[in-house]
Structures are given as structure tokens and as C-alpha cells.
């Protein structure tokens, strides 16, 4: 007994050491990926940006030349043919101003006489002009050293002929800002791609490291540990042809070999026993057999399957990524098809497909959950992906607003089914004491998709158009489906059969169940004051208001995508830390309140947009606050709901409670765009952001009020779990 206990603790220690090794391996691979990625992207970026700058600079010279020749011709006509002295020209400042007003890349114009005295200047002050002229003189001396570096101004110098050899000189300063802003945009796009590539690489590495090494090796170690205790009945189900697969095969062969020996022994026992006529000897033979059976177990038992919720990570990431591709431009895409002859506002028509998508996903999620239990994860997954793919392709061929709405609904159904199927997979594969980390896998994949989708979608739409982006979504969703098919084939996962009808989870919670839940102050307060507002912000603020507002502020698709990316990145970064802190302190309610308050006050900050100079910064601040706020609340909300569900495990069923929560939570996604429309119509974009902030702060104040006494007493007693 003691030996077995000691062997078990040895096994745990070995698994810990092994996990540490795996983490080290993962970190090394990630560092390798970062190194190679940065190296490759730096090389391409440097060569492309440098080459572009060199090619574009002569074009600025040509622009300066075109402007200079046109102006000097006109001035020469006045000073040469009409013999007006240059310093007596009338209306020159107004003339220069009109030229500058019509050509935003020409930054200044100046006319200088033969003595170097500035006669007229527009666009810069006299002091600035002096500096420019000094730099110009220096540059002529140090021409070689400047090489191809692009200055702030490309200065063209042109002679304006006078009547009595009193020529003057016209300087045309063309700004290189236009090119610089384009190059800056290229730079930011490269940074975006680097971040996305890194996230995608990380997803794949994690998938390989955890699903193909860590989990199979853990299973092998578990089987070895059982073997060390004399249990040789295990066999491993790992279908891969790589090194781990070979090791698994060797392990299975060794145990098979041992089983053969045992079977031979049993055969011998039977033969010898049958040949015996003396009962005493027969009993001794039986004792020998019993002695072996008491010490060892050789019969082949059930296969040890590798339980790896992480296997869902890559396909789920790809699916969410495919859906998120259209996030940055969807309202603009809808705007194209929105009918103008209806008696409803255009904002409502733009918001409607987004709202209906959410409704479809909301209805499909709990229904899909019931189907997962009945027909299995794979089928629900496949149906979901097929619906989404048809929806994406439909959007590619959209001819009218109604087509668009119909296909968005279909995509929403697919989204809901894939979402619940993924949750089903995670639940079925998560170990009892690692549900939180398994859920973390699910949440991380979703957020990685949310981060990568909008910017890439924005960039892609900018280049190839909105419709083509839907086609890309369809292709990625199909790839996701193929991976899922492979994952399920390898895992050979069957739907979990319920033991009896009584334990079979209900498709929809009954009225009594709903009443019970609605009487639960914790459930209702988390749902109404945190979860629904959270989803409302995602659908109304992130998916609807921000793209429209940023577009109005002059941002292009790529830029909108990049700014939206902040939300996902901050959530993903803060998520793990927030979850660990919440688990350590168990102050889930406090975390929910804090996170929602951060999001709310960040939005209210938009009221002070003037302080930021550019309203875009206020939007970015609100997005960042929402990202951090959601990172704090998401895992804590789930923990509270899990604990509530635990309380009703024997009466309503844990899954039913969580299903009810998910269903109600998505109401926020339905109402989000509608609330955004109402706020925008009433207060404009800036006012709408502040309005969202006020709503959040108001609701979370109610959450604190309803939970204050419980929060003071501590979360454990607050949950009513201490004594249960």
C-alpha cells in the first residue's frame, strides 16, 4: 500500500518535471519563431521601405518642378514682359495662398530677389524660411552625405526673369509628408502582420506542443506509472507516425508481449490443472495462478485516450478568425445594400443584419448544446461549419439587402453551433480539476481570432474588396472544418451516452427552473449588471459604433482594423493574469465590478475628447479600457456562474444553468447595436460612447449594491458554498 502511494507521488513528481520540460520546449520554440519572424519581416520591411522611398523621391521633385515651372512662367510674364519689378507685384501673397490651398502637398512658396532678400513668402514664417534656406545651402555643400535621405521638404528653385536682368528666384517647397504617411502606414501594417503572424504561430506551436507531445507523453507516463504498480492492462490510443507515435507503439508492443507471456502461463495453468488427478496439487496450481493475479493485472483494458482540449484550439481559432475578417467593414458593407426607400433610419438598417446574426447565434447556441449531447460534437461542428461556409459564400454573391440579411442569419446559426460544439469538446475532454484552464484554451482561441481577424480583414478588403473577403472567410472556415474532421477521426470521440433518461440534459430549461434561477440574486445580478452589458459593448460598441465613427474620423479599413485589434490584444494579455489573481483571492465579484467600472469610465473619458486633440485617441482609450475590463470580468463571471451552477447541480443540472446563462447573456449582443443606434441618433458618436460608459457605470453600481454585504463577508460565504 505504502509502496503504491510512494509510486503515485513519484509519478506526480515525474509528471511535474515533464511538464516543466514541455513548457521550456514551448518557450524555446516560441522564441525561435519570434527570432525568425522578426528577422524575416525586418529584412523584407527594410528592403521594401528603402526601395519605395528611393523610387518615390524623384516624383516629389517632378511635382516641385511642375509647380515651379508653371508659377515661374506666370511670374516671368509679369516681371519680364510687363516689366513690373518683382518687389512691386500686387496680390502675390493671396496668389501664393490660393496655390497652396489647391495643392496640399506644396508647403511653402517664396520669391527672393537677386540680393537674397525675401520678397514674398507663404506657408511658413520668416524664421522657418531662414532655417530652410540655411539647410538648403548646407545641403548643397554636403550633397553626397545626404544621399537618398528624404528631407521634410523637397525644394525646387526656379528663375523668374526680370525686364532689366533683375532676375528673382522662386522657391517651391513640396512636403514629403504624403509619402511619409504612406510609408508610415506600410510600417504599421507590417507591425500588425508581425503580431498576427506571431499569434498564429503561437497557436500552432501550442497545438503541436500540447496536443502532439505533452498530452501523449502524459498518457504514456500515466500508463508507466500504472505499470510500476503492476497494472499492465493499459494500452495507448495514439495514432501518429512521428517519434511519439513510435514510442507509443513500442510501449504497446512491450505490454502486448507481457500479455502473451501471461496468456501462455494461463494456458499452462489450465493444461496442468486439467491433467491433475490430485486435488491438493490442483489447489497448489490454483494458488500459483491466484498469486500472479493478485500481484499483477494483465488483461487488456480500455484504451487510454489522450484527452487534449487544446486540439480544438487551431480549428476554433481559424473559424473565429474567418468570421472576424468582416468585422471592421461589415457596417460599411451593409450600408451599400441598405434600401433608402423604407420608412426606417439607415442606422437601423445597417444595425439589423448584425443584430439578427447575434439572435441566430443566440438561439443556435443552447439548441446546439442539446444536439451535442444527442448526436455528438463532430456532427454539430460540421453542420455549424457548413452553415457558416454557405453564409460566407452567400455574402460573396449578395445582390440585395435581403440576401445579405438571410446569409448573415445563416452564418450566425453556424457560429452558434460551432461555439457550443467547441464548449462541448472542452467539457468532454477537460479533466475534473483543470476545467478553468481548459476553458482558458477556448477563450484564448476565440480572442486570438478576434485579434487577428479584423485587421487582416480590413487590409484584405482594402485591397481586394469586401466580397472577396467573404470568400476568404469561407475558405478558412472550410480549412477549420477539415482540421476538425481530422481531429475527431484521430480522437475517435463518440457522444457521451447518458446513463438514464433522468440524467439526460434538457434541451431547454423548464419554467420552474427559470423561476428558481431568476430568484437567485447572484445569478441575476451577474447576468443583468455584468454579462449582458459586456456582450452589449462587444456588439454595439466594438462591432457597430467604432467602425462607423472611425470611418467618419477619416480612418481607412486597415486603420480601423488595427485600432479594433487593441481590444483583443489587451483582453488576451490580461486574461491569464486576471484569472490567476481571481482564483488566488477568490474575489470574483470584486473583479467583475472592477473590470466593468474600468470599461465604463474609459468610455466616459470620450467626453473629454478635446483634451486628446484627436477624437480617435478617445475612441482608442475606450477600446483599451473595454479590453482590460473584459479581461478582468470574463473569467470571474464564469467562475461565479460555475459556482451558482454547482449549487443547483442536483436540482436543475449544471449544464442547464450554464446554458441559461449563455442564452440570456447573448441578449446583450442583440440589444447592443440597437442601443448604439439609439444613442448615436440622440447624441452623436461621441455622446454615444459616453452614453455606453454611463450605462456600464450605472449597472455596475447596482451590481455592487446588490452584492455589497456578501462581498464584504468574503466571496466564499457570498456564494453560499461554504456550508454546502
Amino acid at each position: 500500500m505504502n509502496t503504491n502511494t510512494s509510486k503515485k507521488s513519484h509519478s506526480k513528481a515525474a509528471q511535474q518535471v515533464f511538464r516543466q520540460d514541455q513548457r521550456k520546449l514551448l518557450v524555446s520554440l516560441v522564441l525561435l519563431a519570434v527570432f525568425v519572424l522578426v528577422l524575416g519581416q525586418s529584412a523584407v520591411s527594410w528592403f521594401s521601405l528603402d526601395g519605395f522611398e528611393r523610387e518615390l523621391e524623384p516624383q516629389l521633385h517632378q511635382k516641385a518642378s511642375a509647380v515651379g515651372h508653371a508659377l515661374s512662367d506666370q511670374l516671368s510674364y509679369a516681371t519680364g514682359e510687363l516689366a513690373i519689378p518683382a518687389n512691386e507685384l500686387v496680390g502675390m501673397n493671396e496668389y501664393f495662398q490660393s496655390v497652396l490651398a489647391n495643392n496640399d502637398d506644396i508647403k511653402y512658396l517664396t520669391l527672393i530677389d537677386t540680393d537674397g532678400e525675401v520678397l514674398f513668402v507663404s506657408g511658413v514664417s520668416r524664421d522657418e524660411l531662414d532655417t530652410i534656406l540655411q539647410n538648403l545651402a548646407m545641403r548643397e555643400i554636403e550633397q553626397e552625405q545626404f544621399g537618398h535621405a528624404m528631407d521634410e521638404y523637397i525644394v525646387g528653385v526656379f528663375t523668374v526673369q526680370g525686364a532689366q536682368q533683375d532676375d528673382s528666384v522662386l522657391h517651391v517647397g513640396v512636403s514629403s509628408n504624403r509619402i511619409r504617411s504612406h510609408l508610415r502606414e506600410v510600417f504599421w501594417e507590417i507591425i500588425t502582420i508581425v503580431i498576427i503572424c506571431w499569434l498564429v504561430t503561437f497557436e500552432f506551436l501550442l497545438f503541436f506542443s500540447v496536443a502532439r507531445v505533452e498530452k501523449p507523453m502524459e498518457t504514456i507516463l500515466r500508463a508507466m506509472s500504472e505499470g510500476a504498480r503492476g497494472k499492465f492492462s493499459s494500452w495507448l490510443l495514439v495514432r501518429s507516425s512521428d517519434e511519439i507515435g513510435q514510442l507509443t507503439s513500442s510501449f504497446n508492443r512491450t505490454l502486448q508481449n507481457l500479455r502473451h507471456r501471461y496468456n501462455d502461463f494461463v494456458f499452462d495453468v489450465r493444461e496442468t490443472q486439467n491433467a491433475q488427478i490430485q486435488g491438493e496439487i490442483a489447489n497448489k496450481i490454483s494458488d500459483v495462478h491466484k498469486n500472479i493475479d493478485s500481484r499483477y493485472r494483465f488483461e487488456r483494458g480500455e484504451a487510454l485516450q489522450v484527452k487534449a482540449p487544446d486540439r480544438i484550439r487551431v480549428p476554433l481559432f481559424l473559424f473565429i478568425f474567418s468570421e472576424e475578417l468582416s468585422r471592421s467593414f461589415l457596417p460599411l458593407f451593409v450600408q451599400r445594400y441598405a434600401p433608402t426607400d423604407l420608412m426606417v433610419s439607415s442606422e437601423f438598417l445597417i444595425g439589423l443584419p448584425i443584430t439578427l446574426f447575434m439572435v441566430a447565434a443566440m438561439i443556435a447556441t443552447p439548441l446546439g448544446g442539446g444536439f451535442v449531447d444527442r448526436v455528438g460534437v463532430r456532427r454539430v461542428f460540421m453542420v455549424g461549419i457548413a452553415a457558416a461556409v454557405v453564409g460566407f459564400i452567400g455574402n460573396f454573391y449578395t445582390q440585395s439587402y435581403y440576401d445579405l440579411v438571410a446569409y448573415r442569419i445563416l452564418t450566425g446559426i453556424g457560429y452558434g453551433l460551432v461555439f457550443i460544439a467547441s464548449e462541448g469538446w472542452v467539457t468532454q475532454n477537460a479533466k475534473r480539476f483543470s476545467r478553468a484552464s481548459a476553458t482558458g484554451v477556448f477563450v484564448a482561441a476565440v480572442f486570438a481570432g478576434i485579434i487577428c481577424g479584423p485587421p487582416i480583414g480590413g487590409i484584405f478588403a482594402d485591397r481586394f474588396g469586401f466580397e472577396a473577403t467573404f470568400l476568404l472567410s469561407a475558405a478558412l472556415a472550410t480549412v477549420s472544418g477539415l482540421i476538425i474532421y481530422q481531429v475527431f477521426r484521430v480522437s475517435n470521440l463518440q457522444p457521451e451516452k447518458p446513463k438514464s433518461n433522468s440524467t439526460r440534459p434538457a434541451l431547454i430549461l423548464g419554467a420552474k427552473g427559470w423561476l428558481t434561477l431568476l430568484k437567485d440574486i447572484r445569478f441575476v445580478s451577474v447576468l443583468l449588471f455584468a454579462a449582458i452589458p459586456g456582450k452589449m459593448m462587444v456588439a454595439g460598441f466594438i462591432a457597430y459604433l467604432v467602425p462607423l465613427y472611425l470611418n467618419e474620423l477619416g480612418h481607412n479599413q486597415s486603420s480601423i482594423g488595427r485600432i479594433l485589434m487593441l481590444y483583443g490584444i489587451l483582453t488576451l494579455i490580461c486574461l491569464t493574469f486576471a484569472a490567476r489573481y481571481a482564483d488566488r483571492t477568490e474575489k470574483y465579484g470584486t473583479m467583475v465590478a472592477l473590470g466593468t467600472a474600468i470599461a465604463g469610465f474609459g468610455c466616459i473619458g470620450a467626453y473629454f475628447s478635446n483634451l486628446f486633440g484627436d477624437a480617435s485617441y478617445a475612441v482608442a482609450l475606450a477600446i483599451c479600457s473595454l479590453g482590460v475590463g473584459h479581461a478582468l470580468t470574463l473569467t470571474s463571471q464564469n467562475s461565479i456562474i460555475q459556482q451558482v451552477a454547482q449549487r443547483y447541480e442536483h436540482t436543475l443540472g449544471r449544464a442547464s444553468v450554464v446554458g441559461a446563462y449563455r442564452l440570456c447573456e447573448r441578449l446583450g449582443m442583440v440589444f447592443g447595436p440597437l442601443i448604439a443606434v439609439a444613442l448615436i441618433s440622440g447624441f452623436g458618436y461621441q455622446g454615444a460612447i459616453v452614453g455606453f460608459g454611463v450605462i456600464l457605470v450605472g449597472l455596475i453600481s447596482l451590481f455592487v449594491l446588490t452584492n455589497l454585504s456578501a462581498m464584504r463577508q468574503g466571496e466564499e460565504s457570498e456564494m453560499g458554498l461554504t456550508n454546502e
Binding site: 509510486k7 513519484h10 509519478s11 515525474a14 520540460d21 520554440l29 525561435l32 519563431a33 527570432f35 525568425v36 519572424l37 528577422l39 524575416g40 529584412a43 523584407v44 520591411s45 528592403f47 519605395f52 523610387e55 518615390l56 516624383q59 511642375a66 508653371a70 489647391n102 504624403r178 509619402i179 504612406h182 510609408l183 506600410v186 507590417i190 502582420i193 503572424c197 498564429v200 504561430t201 500552432f204 506551436l205 503541436f208 502532439r212 508507466m224 506509472s225 510500476a228 503492476g230 512521428d242 517519434e243 511519439i244 514510442l247 513500442s250 508492443r253 512491450t254 501471461y262 502461463f265 495453468v269 490430485q278 496439487i281 496450481i285 500459483v288 500472479i292 500481484r295 494483465f298 485591397r463
Partner: protein
């Protein structure tokens, strides 16, 4: 062909990184094309606007567009001064060309998409531009001193320079991306095999040791090494040998009992 684990990881790594590099290049090239086209348009927009100012000055004197003098000379002079300009047409409100650097176009109707672009922009006194297959077009509207739209100027410039420049950049970037792809792939393979070498060795030794256990080679090098590296493997192998020994002694006991009876 069966790929080892390191090669699989390296392949995924290299594919993702190369895809990222290609994406960067395609987007950069697209941005370059747009910037260059933007610059060219801006230059020819200025030329067209300058011409418009001269024409409108003459119209301010009360002359009708069709009756203006010296316009053809000005158009020819602009054409001569800039070799990238292919043609300049001035058309009236009905879209009929009334002045052109190519006299054979006079009296013809301009392309429909030009009329559309002009009409979309006519009330904003804004310029318009478009890229056609063989040329870029920049247009500006003409207004008389009563702010009535009386026609427009359309300047066509050669796309050759734009296309050639983009093609050069494409060639250059393709070369760079090709080199980067090779380097990235090599580094990925090298890095992955180096990082995973220790693990491979471990797995290989364990596989060999398991085979040795089946063959009951207790003192094989692989087994000793696997036992030394992994205490849990040592416990397992010890248990397997123990089981084998127990089975052997049990079989021996059976035989002894059998002989005893005989």
C-alpha cells in the same frame, strides 16, 4: 512520406512565417502602387488646374469656352514639356471635345465614364482621377464667372512609368521574399531539430529500451540510459522485469508440481 515531428513543426513555422512575409510584400507593393499613382495624379492635377485657371481667366473676360483663342497652343506646349502626358482634351457640357492635343478627336464624344466622373464632381469644383488600362486620367471642371459648369479638362498620362516602376519593385521584392523564405525555412528546420534533439534522443532511447525489455536484455545500453534519465521509466522497467520473473518462476513452479505428480 512520413515526416518527423521536428520537420512538421518546422514546416508549419516556415509556412506561417513565409505567408506573413508574402502578405507583407503584397501589401507594401499595393501601397507603393497607390502612393506612386497618387503622386502622379497630384502632379498632373496641378498641371490641369493651372490650365483651368488660365482658361477661366479668359472666360472671365466674357468669352465663351468654344471661342477661346490660343488654347491649342497652350495644350501643345504642355504636351511638349512633359513626355508623360499622352493627350489633353477639353470638352463642353454635352461631353463633346472642343479642344484637343490630337485634332482628330475634336467633335467626338468623350468616354461615358469620364462624363460620369465629371458629373459626380462637377458641383464640388473638385478634380477627379481614374486609372484606365493604358493610361491614367485626371480631370478638372471648368466654370464661368457665373459659376456655371461649362465643361471640363481631361488630361491623360502614360501608365507605362507607373506599371514599369511597380513591376521593378515586384521583381525586387520577389527576390527578397525568395531569399527570406529560404533563410526562414532553413532556420526553422535547423532551430526545431536543434531544440527537439534532446527530446528525440529521449524518445528514441525509451523506444529502444522498451524493445530491449521485451527481449529481456536487462543490461542493454539503451535500457540503462533510459533508467538513468527517467526514474519513472526505471520503476516501470523494474516492474515489467519483476512481472516476467514472477511469471517465469510461476511457470517453473507449475512444471515442478506437474513433475511431482508424475
Amino acid at each position: 512520406m512520413k515526416l518527423g515531428f521536428a520537420y512538421r513543426i518546422a514546416l508549419v513555422l516556415a509556412l506561417t512565417l513565409v505567408a506573413g512575409t508574402v502578405l507583407t510584400s503584397v501589401l507594401s507593393l499595393h501601397k507603393y502602387e497607390r502612393t506612386l499613382a497618387d503622386l502622379l495624379t497630384s502632379r498632373f492635377e496641378f498641371v490641369a488646374n493651372d490650365l483651368r485657371a488660365r482658361i477661366e481667366t479668359q472666360m472671365d473676360l466674357g468669352l465663351a469656352l468654344v471661342n477661346l483663342e490660343n488654347i491649342n497652343d497652350e495644350l501643345d506646349s504642355l504636351l511638349l514639356n512633359d513626355e508623360q502626358i499622352l493627350s489633353i482634351e477639353i470638352f463642353d457640357e454635352s461631353g463633346t471635345v472642343i479642344f484637343s492635343t490630337d485634332p482628330s478627336f475634336i467633335g467626338d464624344l468623350i468616354a461615358e465614364n469620364w462624363i460620369f466622373a465629371w458629373q459626380v464632381n462637377r458641383n464640388k469644383s473638385a478634380s477627379w482621377s481614374m486609372l484606365e488600362n493604358d493610361a491614367g486620367v485626371v480631370g478638372v471642371g471648368l466654370q464661368n464667372n457665373l459659376n456655371q459648369n461649362v465643361g471640363a479638362i481631361a488630361l491623360r498620362y502614360s501608365r507605362y512609368f507607373l506599371d514599369q516602376s511597380v513591376a521593378q519593385q515586384l521583381e525586387r521584392l520577389t527576390l527578397i521574399v525568395g531569399i527570406v523564405a529560404i533563410v526562414v525555412t532553413l532556420l526553422s528546420v535547423l532551430g526545431c531539430t536543434t531544440l527537439l534533439r534532446g527530446h528525440f534522443q529521449d524518445w528514441k532511447i525509451m523506444s529502444e529500451a522498451l524493445a530491449d525489455i521485451s527481449e529481456r536484455r536487462r543490461d542493454s545500453e539503451s535500457l540503462l540510459e533510459a533508467n538513468a534519465r527517467h526514474p519513472e521509466f526505471e520503476e516501470f522497467s523494474g516492474a515489467v522485469f519483476g512481472a516476467m520473473d514472477s511469471l517465469d518462476s510461476a511457470v517453473g513452479e507449475l512444471r515442478r508440481l506437474d513433475e511431482e505428480t508424475a
